[in-house]
């Protein structure tokens, strides 16, 4: 009896599989795969990236695809887990046979996934990771040589934070600062390291670096410690709700100075959560909602029409990522038969991308990093941002 059941299952499975595979392979299509954190802590960013990508794919396909070839994008959720992100990278490359990959959402996942894509010679485009060691070396084992297949369209903290600090220093000439950094996640620690190395250049003395853990129940004691040093600036490098919590607490404790930060500031949710306390908090952003040059205005309009809510930086970067790949594909004259070859062609094409995007005019640097304008923005106190400076790509 049991045997019968097992056998029948097998047969069924084989049949289904047969049909499945029969359908897929023949048609000519641009297969892209995205590894994003839809669930788990990264769920704050993943969904937006996904929506941005989906919108781009929809527009392109509606317009007849890339040189008449449709794009098919599969989005996989890595549950904000490094191990799963890496495993998904492998299956997307080796089983789904995707042409190129996007993501993953979180920095520590990227450090697992990118080297793998590199070894498997598949282009992978980071859409939200801003830490150190994403590009060019992608922390690749046993080689200091740049990774050839890893790109990133998300503005790195290594650019954003210094630009932000520089512009503020130019405006206000602050003397002293305190750094609050979450020590138990890659992204935040990276940001902290960057702040520490930068401030000196602009004559700011770092009075103290205060490390805390994301899992801290109450940040008030840290804020108190910072405030009691009466710094001109408090630098915050952390994710999720934490920057907002710190700003609120600091303002309550009657501190009047300036907040400077990084990517962790750049979402509407953070601005909303911080509310009035956040007013004026500055960060270097890859994108600004209010930019009204066509490539952004159209994007914002389309996004609103699609999801009837405002896009955020991650949506914009996701959207841009698809545009970049589409443009590269259009110039790469792929064979659609020799996958390895196509992946290489695509990679070469990507290096010479130069298009208008919601982020502004977009190019890759020699080291596959973003080459774009940095928009220094400040929270407006009610969930939005205002543009303070526009620092063109150097």
């Amino acid at each position: 009896m049991k045997v019968v059941r097992v056998v029948s299952c097998l047969v069924a499975a084989i049949l289904i599989a047969a049909c499945g595979s029969g359908g897929g392979s023949s048609a000519k299509v641009i297969k892209l795969g995205a590894i994003l954190s839809i669930t788990g802590a990264g769920g704050v960013y993943g969904p937006q990236s996904r929506d941005g990508m989906m919108l781009a794919v929809k527009q392109i396909n509606a317009a007849g695809g890339v040189n008449g070839v449709q794009i098919s994008l599969t989005v996989k959720d890595d549950a904000s887990d490094k191990a799963q992100a890496t495993q998904l990278t492998q299956t997307l490359i080796q089983q789904e046979q995707d042409l190129a990959l996007l993501g993953p959402t979180l920095s520590n996942s990227a450090l697992g996934a990118h080297p793998l894509a590199e070894t498997l010679k598949t282009p992978i485009l980071a859409v939200s990771t801003t830490g150190i060691h994403i590009v060019p070396d992608c922390n690749f084992p046993a080689s200091s040589t740049a990774c050839k297949y890893v790109f990133r369209d998300s503005l790195g903290e290594e650019t954003a934070i210094p630009d932000n600090i520089q512009s503020y220093a130019a405006d206000q000439h602050p003397k002293t600062g305190v750094l609050l950094v979450a020590q138990d996640d890659k992204f935040s620690s990276d940001g902290g390291a960057i702040v520490q190395t930068t401030v000196g250049k602009y004559g700011i003395t770092l009075l103290k670096t205060i490390k805390f853990n994301k899992a801290e129940a109450d940040l008030a004691p840290y804020v108190t410690q910072a405030v009691q040093l009466h710094p001109d600036v408090i630098f915050i490098t952390s994710l999720g709700g934490i920057p907002a919590k710190i700003m609120t607490e600091a303002r309550k404790q009657n501190w009047k100075g300036q907040f400077l930060g990084g990517n962790g500031f750049n979402t509407a949710t953070v601005s909303t959560q911080a509310g009035a306390a956040g007013t004026g908090a500055r960060s270097g952003s890859a994108w600004y909602l209010g930019n009204n040059f066509p490539s952004n205005a159209d994007f914002v309009a389309a996004y609103k029409a699609e999801y009837n809510k405002n896009p955020d930086q991650f949506a914009a970067q996701g959207y841009t990522a698809i545009k970049i790949l589409a443009d590269s594909v259009s110039r790469a004259n792929l064979t659609f038969s020799d996958l390895a070859g196509d992946r290489d062609k695509l990679r070469t094409a990507m290096e010479s991308v130069n298009i208008q995007t919601p982020l502004g005019p977009f190019q890759f640097t020699a080291s596959h990093d973003v080459k774009q304008t940095v928009w220094v923005i400040a929270m407006d106190g009610n969930g939005g941002f205002t543009l303070v400076h526009e620092i063109p790509a150097s």
Partner: protein
């Protein structure tokens, strides 16, 4: 679903495109086995992630600073983990049930937040770059190791040692009356489990391009996950943890469609198994570890009441 289908229709293709997944199952199984050793001797210890961390950092650091061969690194990692196990075990092994569990939680988090995140040598929050990792090639090493560990654990549970452990798990008092030095055998189990965990940790690090001091990796989250493997699979039989690791690790792949809700699926699954098969998927009576004093009376001598 494709996952399962491919497993049947195209095993080779499956293997080739899922080496990382399979390796992860292997690693998880090894760690689960380390948890199994303590559970088998009647101790509810969640210290495994701590020892994994020790193993991982030791082997990677040795490689980084002295460029020693992998085998040596792993050996050192294992020994250090065992040594720490001894030190940690001494004060807390007299604790029973959840008390031991909580104490070990204290240990792993103190290690992670207090030490690892604060020593420059461990790269603090940035994690530790692992120069000679081999994500794709590691699988064979992992599977071989799994077989070896599995064999060792199996044999250990068979011999005098295993018999003593089983006796202690069932009834410490009666075990004493058979001349079993309960304290010593508990310690042996604890140290062995630390050793295996350290090994697993070092192995896992070898598959990863960088060592990540996150909670999912070496924190409570991981500890709970490992406990789930062991208990779900069944902590009375040495195959239980492996089955548990396999099942839990596969869930997100098998329920591809429900990925967004995978934790709900897992939760339901956990409750269902524990309610309808408390001894776990494999084996019998695996959970006989502690009973609350108010549970309806079973044979329980209170050595201190006269008569």
């Amino acid at each position: 679903m494709d996952f399962v289908i491919q497993l049947f229709t195209d095993p080779i293709g499956f293997w080739n495109s899922h080496t990382l997944f399979i390796a992860q199952v292997g690693i998880n199984s090894i760690i689960a086995l380390s948890m199994f050793i303590v559970l088998y001797s009647g101790q509810l210890s969640l210290a495994a992630p701590g020892f994994m961390a020790i193993g991982a950092y030791t082997s990677v650091l040795m490689d980084q600073y002295w460029h020693t061969p992998l085998a040596l690194n792993i050996a050192a990692a294992v020994l250090l983990a065992a040594a720490v196990g001894l030190v940690v075990g001494l004060p807390v092994l007299r604790l029973r049930g959840v008390f031991l569990a909580i104490a070990t939680i204290g240990f792993i988090e103190a290690l992670r937040l207090g030490v690892i995140l604060n020593l420059p040598i461990t790269g603090e929050g940035l994690g530790l770059k692992n120069g000679n990792s081999d994500p794709l090639g590691g699988i064979n090493l992992v599977l071989v190791s799994l077989v070896v560990v599995l064999f060792l654990v199996w044999r250990l549970t068979k011999g005098r040692l295993g018999a003593a452990w089983a006796a202690i798990r069932q009834d410490e008092l009666a075990a004493l009356s058979q001349g079993i030095n309960v304290a010593r055998y508990k310690m042996i189990a604890f140290v062995l489990s630390a050793l295996v965990a350290g090994f697993g940790g070092a192995l896992e690090a070898h598959l990863q391009t960088f060592v990540d001091p996150s909670d999912q990796q070496y924190g409570v989250t991981r500890a709970v996950q490992i406990l789930t493997f062991a208990v779900l699979g069944g902590s009375g039989h040495f195959l239980g943890p492996v089955v548990g690791a396999l099942v839990v690790t596969s869930l997100p792949w098998v329920f591809e469609q429900a990925r967004d809700y995978i934790n709900i699926v897992t939760g339901v699954f956990l409750i269902a198994v524990i309610v309808f098969r408390p001894q776990g998927i494999v084996g019998r009576g695996g959970l006989a570890i502690v009973r609350p004093r108010w549970w309806p009376r079973r044979a329980r001598v209170n050595a201190s009441t006269p008569g």
